[in-house]
């Protein structure tokens, strides 16, 4: 699977097929899902195969075993470390479906995880991440240790994070509604962007819902064709002679078409509905970055406020020539440094986000273009083969009706 080009950022312009070692490459494949453990403890493990010529990776190929929570760990670490970058989304946790572990579910998850890692691997900044290296190279025990250390904000302060998220949402809607809140960016372009992201999610979710229904319809039509075919065949046995044969052939064709439809249903699920779901997840990931930006902004503003007050205090202390002056001055300097740092952080996020959104849009146009093309091709192929199958019956039906016209003995 040519993962780089499927999810490539484009900015690296690397061709993994070039076997020349000059061009740097890093491709990953997530394969071989295997069920491990029993009962409630059961989980799926995946083989993660890395092929690279990056110097830090000490070797052209490495294979490790990972499970879903390892991927979550990676995502969380990257999210914390690379604020401003849109971290690729993961497939849903789905605690219920996990127990059923249907083949389809496993395959969809595997596909999504594969896409996830490769997107990271082809992002010019993320691919340099140490955490990625840990994920791709370390043995399972080390991985488990890392996972349980959990310095990520998801484990530590999940409530806080949710709160931040909710705050952002309410703030965005407040601004959209025209209510001004003080601790929020008043950048109209950015507001437009945020608005766009939130609405986009709704639209995409709807499209995805219908795509999922379309998959179901294909299955249902397939089933009904199969049942119809069987019934028609039985009806043919009542008739006998050429009509009976015609019936049974029609029935057989109907059953054949049922299989085609089931196949297309699966195809649609994996290559049409899943990418749409992935698009939705990506938008949700952007929302998380939006929250981070708001966070950073607020932090910066609060710090600026604190610095202002500290300055006032400082001047007061200067006037009164207090002993606390030296300490206060040190604190003040420290605060100023923190202020600078938080400003820098915030500005980094802003810059990164601008780059990311442009990249994201470019990538999505390509991604969706591919999805649409494959969708149209699949549907065209299905329709044409259905037409062909039915058409092949026509000469026989024609012969049947002419044999009925001429009265036989």
């Amino acid at each position: 699977m040519n993962a780089l080009q499927r999810s490539g950022s484009g900015s690296m312009a690397q061709s993994p097929r070039s076997s020349t070692s000059q061009a740097p490459y890093l491709t990953v494949s997530v394969t071989d899902p295997a069920k491990m453990g029993n009962g409630v403890q059961a989980y799926i493990s995946y083989k993660v195969i890395t092929k690279t010529n990056f110097p830090e990776y000490q070797g052209p190929e490495k294979i490790v075993i990972r499970r879903y929570s390892d991927f979550v760990w990676l995502r969380d670490r990257l999210f914390e470390r690379y604020k401003g970058i849109f971290i690729p989304p993961l497939p849903e946790k789905s605690t219920v479906e996990k127990f059923r572990f249907s083949a389809e579910f496993i395959e969809m998850r595997r596909q999504a995880l594969d896409v996830f890692v490769n997107r990271i691997a082809s992002h010019h900044e993320l691919q340099q991440s140490e955490d990625l290296r840990t994920f791709l190279l370390e043995d399972e025990q080390t991985m488990e240790r890392e996972r349980s250390q959990e310095t990520g904000i998801f484990k530590k302060k999940p409530a806080d994070f949710m709160q931040i998220f909710k705050d952002v949402q309410s703030r965005v809607s407040d601004v959209v509604l025209g209510k001004e809140k003080p601790v929020e960016e008043s950048n109209p372009e950015y507001e437009k962007q945020k608005n766009y992201i939130f609405q986009l999610e709704d639209h995409l979710a709807e499209a995805q819902k219908h795509a999922y229904r379309l998959v179901k319809r294909h299955r249902e039509l397939g089933q009904s064709l199969s049942d119809f075919g069987k019934a028609v065949k039985l009806l043919g046995t009542c008739e006998g002679n050429s009509l009976g044969k015609a019936f049974s052939e029609l029935g057989a064709k109907s059953e054949l078409l049922s299989i085609k439809l089931q196949r297309e249903a699966h195809h649609l699920l994996m290559r049409f509905e899943e990418p749409l779901k992935d698009y939705v997840r990506a938008v949700q990931s952007i929302k998380a970055t939006i929250a981070e930006r708001a966070n950073a902004f607020r932090h910066h503003c609060e710090l600026a406020e604190t610095i202002k007050f500290k300055e006032i205090d400082l001047n007061k202390l200067r006037l009164t020539r207090s002993e606390k002056l030296a300490d206060a001055e040190r604190e003040y300097e420290q605060l100023k440094a923190d202020g600078k740092e938080s400003k820098r952080k915030f500005e980094t996020i802003v810059k990164l986000m601008n780059e990311e959104i442009a990249r994201f849009q470019e990538q999505k146009t390509i991604d969706m273009g591919v999805v649409f093309h494959e969708f149209a091709e699949g549907q065209a192929h299905l329709a044409k083969s259905i037409a062909e199958a039915w058409r092949s019956l026509l000469p026989k039906l024609e012969a049947c009706s002419s044999s009925l016209e001429t009265p036989d003995a």
């Binding site: 080009q5 499927r6 437009k192 962007q193 766009y196 609405q199 639209h203 499209a207 819902k209 219908h210 795509a211 229904r213 379309l214 319809r217 294909h218 249902e220 039509l221 009904s224 049942d227 119809f228 069987k230 019934a231 028609v232 039985l234 009806l235 009542c238 008739e239 009509l243 019936f247 029609l250 849009q361 470019e362 999505k364 146009t365 390509i366 969706m368 273009g369 591919v370 649409f372 093309h373 494959e374 149209a376 091709e377 549907q379 065209a380 192929h381 329709a383 044409k384 259905i386 037409a387 039915w390 058409r391 026509l394 000469p395 039906l397 024609e398 049947c400 009706s401 002419s402 009925l404």
Partner: protein
């Protein structure tokens, strides 16, 4: 000769994508599927009204039909069926001069009637109107009923005219149906539309009346297609005689039973004749006024079932029994196939609906991206999305249209299923006639043995001779009448058997023709529409082909 104006437009409408198919949409979006199925059925029948415009490209058609084209660039089958899709509607009816290339069922019906003779008898039902019954009811407006205008056009000489218009109400149709059932025992008489008391309350008045008038038309047409019934007096009178319904109603069963119950004591006491009269024999005992006869035949049927004695006359026609079994089988399979056909239709409908919703969702997305776009790439994406969305909406309409056609064709399964009712009825005519014969025969034998006994005994009582001779005379009398009745009954039984036989043959051949046409129609439609659907998607694939190169 046109039915309601709306329905004649219907086949025209379905091809023009631009205008809204209000007729179809209203009909097909009824709330419950089962009620909408009935409406779909009537939709199917309504198309029978319309005339067929002759196809421009008729000659081209025979090729694609028999010799499938390999190269889609030349005029495909699709193009012929769907000549210009975007301009005005046009249906190409695919019919060759000798009538073998039929698709649409209108042709089938015309075909069949054309073949038999140059005689025709065309009936249409229209113009439902409310009328008031002139009765002395206190509450005004409570005795309203609907009458329908029945227009007949014929060249059958017996009719003494070519065009007739009469007004009839549903009750009249029930009477017609009952009378036909009485006169034509043994024939497969098409079943009449249901009384459907519930539906008339539940449905909107207008919808119900519409549905009923379509059903009536269908029923009357079926009658005119039956080779024997079309010549019947009852039908002729129904179609031609002005004013009130000329056929007297057979009195309902309840009052018949009451009449019979009143007669019974007299019969048992010997006051009124207790014999089965020859003229009664031509009707079944059940539902008649002669309760005594009913009891006798009931007793006979019990004897048949439980008694070991072999009857002199039994159903011995092996061919008949075999055919009966086969028809039973057929009925079962038909029921199943009809049910699966309904499921198939629903699945096709759902597919079309979901495809349409998907298209709409993408159209909304397109609009959204266009309005909010900041980068050029978003406009590009919007264009791609629009292509997919438009195709999806078009395809959705195609599925809907395909479905309308599918229903029309597969509905024949349903129709033949309904015919089985008529078949069963005809078979029960036969078995009740046989029962009458058997009853009479055993009557006769018991009468004979009574007479024998009387003849051999000599009167022991003084003066008893006179009463014995009198009784003997009576018995001889009874025997004679019963003999007559028996010959009548045997004749009637034979007539019914003949009817059964000829009808079974007719049914078989008609069913086979119908089914072949159904299969052809169904398959042809599938081919045409799925090809068109394939083309729509192929266009989109073409328009997005640049993405394909990038991903390989």
């Amino acid at each position: 000769m046109m039915g309601e104006e709306e329905s004649s437009k219907e086949p025209m409408q379905f091809l023009s994508l631009n205008e809204e198919n209000t007729c179809n949409d209203e009909v097909l979006t009824s709330n419950s599927y089962s009620s909408s199925r009935n409406v779909i059925t009537t939709l199917a029948s309504s198309s029978v009204n319309s005339q067929l415009p002759a196809a421009a490209g008729e000659r081209l058609v025979s090729d694609p039909l028999l010799f499938p084209l390999d190269n889609p660039s030349t005029e495909s089958y699709v193009d012929v069926i769907f000549s210009p899709m975007d301009d005005g509607p046009a249906i190409s009816s695919i019919s060759e001069p000798n009538g073998t290339g039929e698709i649409l069922d209108e042709l089938t019906i015309l075909q069949r009637s054309r073949k038999t003779s140059s005689e025709y008898l065309n009936v249409t039902v229209s113009d439902p109107q409310k009328e008031w019954e002139s009765s002395n009811s206190i509450v005004s407006g409570s005795n309203t009923y609907v009458t329908y205008l029945i227009t007949t056009n014929t060249n059958i000489p017996d009719y003494g005219g070519s065009d007739f218009c009469v007004r009839r109400r549903f009750k009249d149709v029930v009477i017609l149906s009952d009378r036909l059932n009485e006169s034509y025992r043994g024939l497969f008489i098409p079943p009449r539309p249901d009384k459907s008391i519930v539906e008339s309350q539940v449905m909107q008045k207008q919808d119900f009346v519409e549905q009923r008038s379509l059903a009536l038309e269908k029923y009357l047409r079926k009658l005119t297609e039956h080779p024997m019934i079309k010549k019947s007096d009852e039908l002729r009178v129904f179609l031609t005689v002005q004013g009130r319904m000329p056929l007297p109603a057979s009195i309902d069963v309840a009052s018949r039973m009451l009449d019979g119950a009143a007669r019974l004591p007299k019969q048992l006491l010997g006051e009124s004749r207790s014999m089965i009269e020859p003229q009664d024999v031509v009707q079944p005992a059940k539902g008649g006024r002669d309760l005594l006869r009913l009891f006798k035949e009931l007793k006979q049927s019990v004897v048949n079932d439980w008694g070991g004695s072999r009857q002199p006359v039994v159903e011995d026609d092996k061919e008949f029994l075999e055919k009966k079994e086969k028809l039973r089988d057929l009925e079962e399979q038909l029921t199943d196939a009809s049910k699966q056909a309904e499921t198939l239709v629903k699945a096709q409908q759902d597919m079309g609906d979901t495809m349409g919703e998907l298209g709409l969702a993408f159209i909304k997305l397109t609009k959204f991206e266009n309005e909010q776009a900041v980068l050029n790439t978003q406009f590009l994406r919007a264009v791609d999305m629009k292509n997919v969305a438009t195709a999806a909406v078009k395809v959705s309409r195609l599925y809907r249209e395909l479905n309308v056609q599918t229903v029309k064709h597969l509905d024949r399964l349903h129709e033949h299923m309904g015919l089985m009712l008529a078949v069963n009825h005809a078979f029960s005519d036969r078995s009740s006639a046989l029962l009458t014969v058997q009853t009479l025969i055993s009557e006769l034998s018991s009468l004979h043995s009574k007479a024998e006994k009387l003849e051999t005994t000599s009167s022991k009582i003084f003066g008893g001779d006179k009463s014995r001779i009198h009784k003997l005379e009576e018995l001889k009398d009874a025997i004679r009448v019963t003999e007559d009745a028996k010959s009548c009954a045997v004749r009637e039984y034979g007539r019914i058997k003949d009817n059964n036989r000829s009808e079974m043959k007719r049914l078989d051949s008609e069913r086979q023709t119908d089914f072949v046409n159904m299969l052809k129609g169904f398959v042809t439609n599938q081919v045409a529409y799925t090809e068109k659907i394939g083309c729509e998607w192929a266009n989109v694939a073409e328009e997005t082909s640049r993405y394909a190169k990038e991903s390989t």
